[in-house]
Subunit: 290 residues, 2 copies
Amino acid sequence: MKTLKKITIVGVGLIGGSFAKGLKKAGLVDEVMGFGQNPQNLQTAIELGVIDSFSLDMAEAVENSDLVFLAVPLGAMKSSLELMKPYLSEHTIITDGGSAKSSVILSALEVFGELPVNFVPGHPIAGKEKSGVTAADEDLYIDHRVILTPNQNTAKASVETVQALWQALGAKVEVMSAQQHDEIFAATSHLPHLLAFSLVDMLNEHEELGDVFQYTAGGFRDFTRIASSDAVMWRDIAIYNSEAIVKWLKNYGVAIEQLTKLVEAKDANALYQLFDEAKRARDKHIVNKS
Amino acid sequence: MKTLKKITIVGVGLIGGSFAKGLKKAGLVDEVMGFGQNPQNLQTAIELGVIDSFSLDMAEAVENSDLVFLAVPLGAMKSSLELMKPYLSEHTIITDGGSAKSSVILSALEVFGELPVNFVPGHPIAGKEKSGVTAADEDLYIDHRVILTPNQNTAKASVETVQALWQALGAKVEVMSAQQHDEIFAATSHLPHLLAFSLVDMLNEHEELGDVFQYTAGGFRDFTRIASSDAVMWRDIAIYNSEAIVKWLKNYGVAIEQLTKLVEAKDANALYQLFDEAKRARDKHIVNKS
């Protein structure tokens, strides 16, 4: 694909920084400019070779940019779009890395009146325990999925450009509707995170159990690892994908009620069937994935 | 401590086999005899050096034994005790590895009328992804907890002997009531296992999500790893610790309802507080544990 002259990373942390680093390594971009509010962080990003330059002024940051990558928290999407709106040129492609897509599209609708034709909402399914630009890694997206959720307004050429950039970073790109994305990730990612937070919280609050964490083993550590995730990020996801999350929390609540009845009734056959089917499904779909 | 002349492992798999192997390595036992129903498995155990000999006859297996270790599934505890009852000598210590203690004690009460003075119920908190005697490992229990749950009938000397044996294997031994044990492990182990099974099952059954597992990432894999556990074992645990598990399932159901309301109300402060407290609790208690 054609080399981009300038791209702008709005929010230079793990996600935005890894995107920039990967594209620089692939030789697909001449200049990467960072935008943010913390000059020290942006200076570090330059020193790490993640970006070439930075600006604290949005006008300068997006001027003549071929592509703007919004890698800010969900709660900052709308204000970032408002800030850049006056300075975007017609040819500038916008994409983002937010993990709830309907809310990003809603923010764009609120700011622009409609989803701009060159706005390609996206969600790279990748992360690390460490966050921040110092953790940025040009190989972060290799073999990871990136979901793009354009709507009927979106220009096909812009989708193709964004797709080609992610593919150049080694990602597997898939296109689906924002609603389908939000349902799937509410069920497979947002729900388990909330369940893990909730379990740790419950155990922490029941003082009659004593210092209960000392008795936990490897299974508990794995199960609750995601409860060590960033509280601000997950607050935002819970709020910005609340509709789909509430739906799956309720579905899960029903499942737990049914399970409770089976345990109460000591229904050996039904319990075995439930556990066995879960085990088979997981072993089939998950175990052999790296 | 004094070397034991003969110990008997009833159920020679990962748990019983690792116990035997460790004691042999520590030079604390002259002869280890295995009992089971599968001569091929017991022959393998001899070839692996886990046991010295075996018998398919319980009379021979427990005759003159200093200690019998019951390492059978929870569902086989009572029948094993019934089978050995006529052949136990007064000085034979009995202990077990069952993960629900009240039910093991109840089985003993049903078979013996009371908990025998030399019966020291126990639960080693250790495991491996692989099971069976081929996975037996003399180092399995190093730095792992073993909970002993004697009652007021239990002879102090028998508790001390069992404790010393586990300590010789490198385990950290703790004594508590069976009820306290069952509550703690219902909350920290049995509950998360059931939650993980339940989540995988729910996703598997909601066909509108499509092949949803392909979109799962590392967090989901960690969260559901325990849903790949043995379905028979977890059916037994659910049944044999049902009372405590039902209590914690219900507590968790209430927590999930409250969380659902917060997400529905998009209550940013309350959600942040919940996630942040969970993260702090987990980071404090778990992360630095090996």
